[in-house]
Symmetry: C7
């Protein structure tokens, strides 16, 4: 669960720091349910911090399609886990985010 | 079956949210039948929501070739399933949509 | 066999809807024969519908090199089969079409 | 052996229609011999028809480096065989042609 | 542990010279903990030297997103180890750096 | 051994026609020796004919870095062998040529 | 060990001719040690000759980041070995050079 804790990791490039959200938590908006039978396991997570941004071929930084606080759908087994202040986060590339829960 | 339910997921990039359509449903237009013997299993589905759009190399968002409500043919085993309001949806990339049923 | 049936599928992108042609049919022009021993199995088919067209990097739609009605040579095992009005069609990418029978 | 028969297949894109040439035939110019021990089996063939041409990124059709009638060296196992008028032909991409016999 | 030792290796291109940081060291800022169960093993490290820089397609050198002294998160098993003055360093590509600890 | 024989094959694209040089021959300049223990087996060869040249994305033919008569180092197992006038030649891509013996 | 011997091989493209340096030799600057336990085995080597240079997409030759005489770190198992004047050299691509020892 993401709190007002100051974020301690700045993702690089097109990476985003997210934190998995428990499905039975009250913080889950809209009641999205991930079917157990899904072949490619998705998971809901909250966006905690955006990266420095990918660059196009002219070196211009590209904006992100997600923003801090967004609830997103990601593949369960992607990215890299890190832990601080007793909480587990995941660093994923933005292209691995499938959609934003509204 | 897609209803007037407010869509709860905004797909990212070139992704599209679709919902599988039962072949014996009255909603199937034109009576397209997917042969059981087909090697690459296709499936009919309805387009529920378009993504934020892919960007070309100048960062310009590319329009989609499908629109919300289109009945499309997709590979049965592609994409990622999510579920909300007791319904199952799939997030697929637009390039994985083979055609639009007219 | 393609008839005057209204086509019910609009292929997306560089895809083309084709229908296999029986080799002993009178509709086969020119008597092209596919050798049984061919390693990469080709097949004759009729072009039924063109896709929305591939786009170049400026977003400009590229014209097709085939047109509706063309008799073409394709690999037997490529593409995705769909069926409607008791007929079987195949959705293939244009680049998988090897040549046009004249 | 290629004759004055009207060619019945127009290759698409960067493909070329060729016909294998028997090595002991009088039509073999220059006496090129393909060693049996060659790891990547080459074969001599005559160019029967050129494709519609590959396009560069601006959509401009690129010229071929071979012309109809050229005797060329190709890999024995590449391409797709088709047969008409009792003769066997092969559809290959121009980049699979290694050289032209002069 | 990085000291004031003059760095003896200038990385080439988009590579960066880093030195692993012991997690129980006082030098670890912010108390990032790498979970043992993480599938893709990350590791904290200090940036010791930047490379000559990647070049874009016009040959212009691209700036780095990290600077000497940054504490970064990298995959434990990436890069190439070298050793001098009794210390072990690792050469990694900047894109393999997941984030910067703040 | 290359002689004044008129070359009978014009390589296509970025390909080059070369002929292996015997290491104990007097024609070997500089006494380059290929160690038996080398993992990627190199071989000396003489350049017999240049191809039509690779094209850049504007269709402009790129010059070769080797010229007819150059003694070059190539991988022993690359390319395609052809034989004429009792001699064996090899067709290789220029990028597979490692260096020129001076 | 590289001596004043005239170099006999001109590398092509982005390749560089290097010669491995014995770690206990006095010529090793700075005492870089390659740990035996390193997963990707690196090795020190001296740059003997630069290639003709890689070209960008406009055909302009790109400068090298190393120069003749540089002591560099490379992967032990990359490149192709050649031997002349009783010495063994290796041809590697510049991108396989990890860093320069200063």
């Amino acid at each position: 669960m993401a709190t007002a804790t100051k974020v301690k990791i700045k993702p690089l490039g097109d990476r985003v720091l997210i934190q998995a959200v428990e499905l039975d938590s009250e913080q889950v908006k809209g009641g999205i349910i991930i079917p157990d039978s899904a072949k490619e396991k998705p998971q809901e997570a909250k966006v905690i911090a955006l990266g420095t941004g990918a660059k196009d071929e002219n070196g211009k930084v590209q904006p992100f399609n997600v923003k801090v606080g967004d609830l997103v759908i990601v593949s369960k087994y992607g990215g890299t886990e890190v832990k601080f202040d007793d909480q587990t986060y995941t660093l994923v590339r933005e292209d691995d985010i499938l959609g934003v829960v509204q």
